[in-house]
Amino acid sequence: MARMNMVQALNSAMDVMLARDPRVVVLGEDVGYFGGVFRVTDGLQRKYGEHRVLDTPIAEGGIIAAAIGMGVNGLKPVAEIQFADYIYPGFDQVVSELARLRYRTAGDFFAPVTIRTPCGGGIRGGQTHSQSPEAIFTHVSGIKVVMPSNPYDAKGLLISSIEGEDPVVFFEPKRLYNGPFDGDPHKPAVPWSTHPRGEVPEGHYTVPIGRAEVVRPGKDLTILTYGTMVHVAEAAVRLAGVDAEIVDVRTMAPLDVDTICSSVNGTGRCVVVHEATGFAGYGAELVATVQEQCFWNLEAPVRRVTGWDTPYPHAFEWDYFPGPARVAAALKEVMEAA
């Protein structure tokens, strides 16, 4: 076991896979010589050479298209899109090509591409460096969508993504790169070394895609969340003084309906929390699933706490960010409902 922050854990996942499987290649803007703007690919080109860790032109559509072609030719590309906000030029290649190739060829062609991309706000990134566009991708059939909330899961899920034969869009909450940020920007930063999930094996292991995890057991209500909001939810639970069960969804697609519903059926109350805008956001899918599967066990309406339906504003990001106070208010409201 080693102590790793999320950057190191992700780096270790690629390091392990580059060493184990000659088909694995890493490509993206600034990922090679420089090691990535967030340092996630630091040292990999030095270790594996410039044919396996490639700097690319600034062309997200080209990066994803090239990765698809490489995947069709037997490689396992791990493409970095520098910010999730930059992924849209590559959207057609993801939606119409990457996600559909296996289906449209009845399994004769497929491209096992993992697209890593940092998401989320809280770094003064404004509207072009703060987005959480997971719901745009969960709406597309044919891709898996993943977002880890800690270094251990990050490494295990990334290895699972690379080893699998399906395309994965792998969101990395950048506010969690260096520590389990709980939503209060005024408190001193807490490093991952203080957190149990900062303990990460140095070698190979996997965390399965398609499985949610109960990260805090509780009896009063269920919080369904993922990414940075897992830690915000933990802070909100302390603030509200409720015994909430927190489910870290981890994989948005495919969704682990069983873990989610068995928790909600047990508590009878549910709050859904994510950082992305609420309207037609991923939370709507979670609420709909809970409504369809757990309706007769619910004792209160399901509440959502999300980013506002505005772009992410540079100067007001802590008013935008659904912090512990907003989440705690929703927890109390749901507890007080008849």
């Binding site: 032109p57 090239a66 030029p89 060829t105 009845a106």
Partner: protein
Amino acid sequence: MTQRSRLHVPAPPARPGQEPDFSYLQISPAGALRRPDVTVAVRDIEDLSLQMVRVLGEDHRAVGPWDPRLDAEELQVGLRHMLLTRLFDDRMQKIQRQGRISFYIKSTGEEAIAVAQGMALQPGDMLFPSYRQQGLHVVRGRSLVELMCQCLSNTRDMCKGRQMPIMYHWAEGNIFSISGNLATQFPQAVGWAMAAAIKGEDRIAASWIGEGSSAEADFHYAMTFAAVYQAPVILNLVNNQWAISTFQGFAGGEHRTFAQRGPGYGIPGIRVDGNDFLAVYAVTQWAAQRARQSGGATLIELVTYRAGAHSTSDDPSRYRPKEEWRAWPLGDPITRLKQHLITLGEWSEERHARLEKELDAHVSACWKEAETYGTLSGGPTLDPMTMFEDVLKEMPPDLVRQREELRALRAVQSAAVPSAPPAGHSATPPALVRKG
């Protein structure tokens, strides 16, 4: 008067009812251009992107350094492939008109491109076509029955009923899947070629787009990546003058040739007479050799004319002169190769007529067989439950649930209509079958 800016809206030289006018087309005489060594620097061959590589002269003889010197037997094979492609296209168009398939796209007038290029490449080279290179499948020996079954979405459809007609693919034949989203295959081919180089193989990739879709960002991605990494890929731009109703000026063809974009990116651009089988073959061979020697990519502009409609859903008489194709100065690729072979004493009108008859009978036999695997109106089709397969490698729980929901629904439906055919084997709803 004050100065005002004004848009230039490109207009084709002739509209319906007007005389066709191809005076805009720069045509070099056959044999006029030099054939540089494949290791030549890009800056030293920029003239090849402006002019036009041609081999077949007005006298039907091969002339100049680009003559690939194919023997008569190879030329006859090329002629046969082109003719089969045309007859296949003609038949499928008729079949579509009879309502027996939903849609079709012909490659009439452009057969030399897929056929000569397919023949100039190695079987292991990976092809990323657009929807008008069915000749590639013909060259690589694919049974027409397979292509017809795809168009029929029947029980033998390689796409399992998931794609509209002509969106073929062939993994064993190294022909990639056709996408309805234009130009996406261009940068994918570059990625495939990059992987070949990373793996240290000598295989190369080739891709095709139309001049119209060269306006897509994917063209720019492909050119940039191909240039940056010197990927072993041939990027073919088929300039058939028309993108549905917009002429090539709407893709930027009025100001520069499309081939000139190559040198702009730092890769050779070669403009070739796309209806000249020998010239197309020779230029492809040159680019393939360059790619295999780590010389990187080549952009080939194949100048041709879309003789037919864009697709069976299109009516070109509404936007271009009806007889424009007859005025096309580069002629018909099949007629030109035929005349060349006759001039060489290796072919005759009689042999041609015999071949045409033989191939037409072959197409008929293939269609007859294809329909035994299912027709559009009467089935059988594949089991609709297969629609839930291949979304991901393993079927996720939500799709398992939805599949069972559909299965139950279909069971109820067929129980309500006892005389209906078994579930999964009729393209027509049971109730309609009964009313007959």
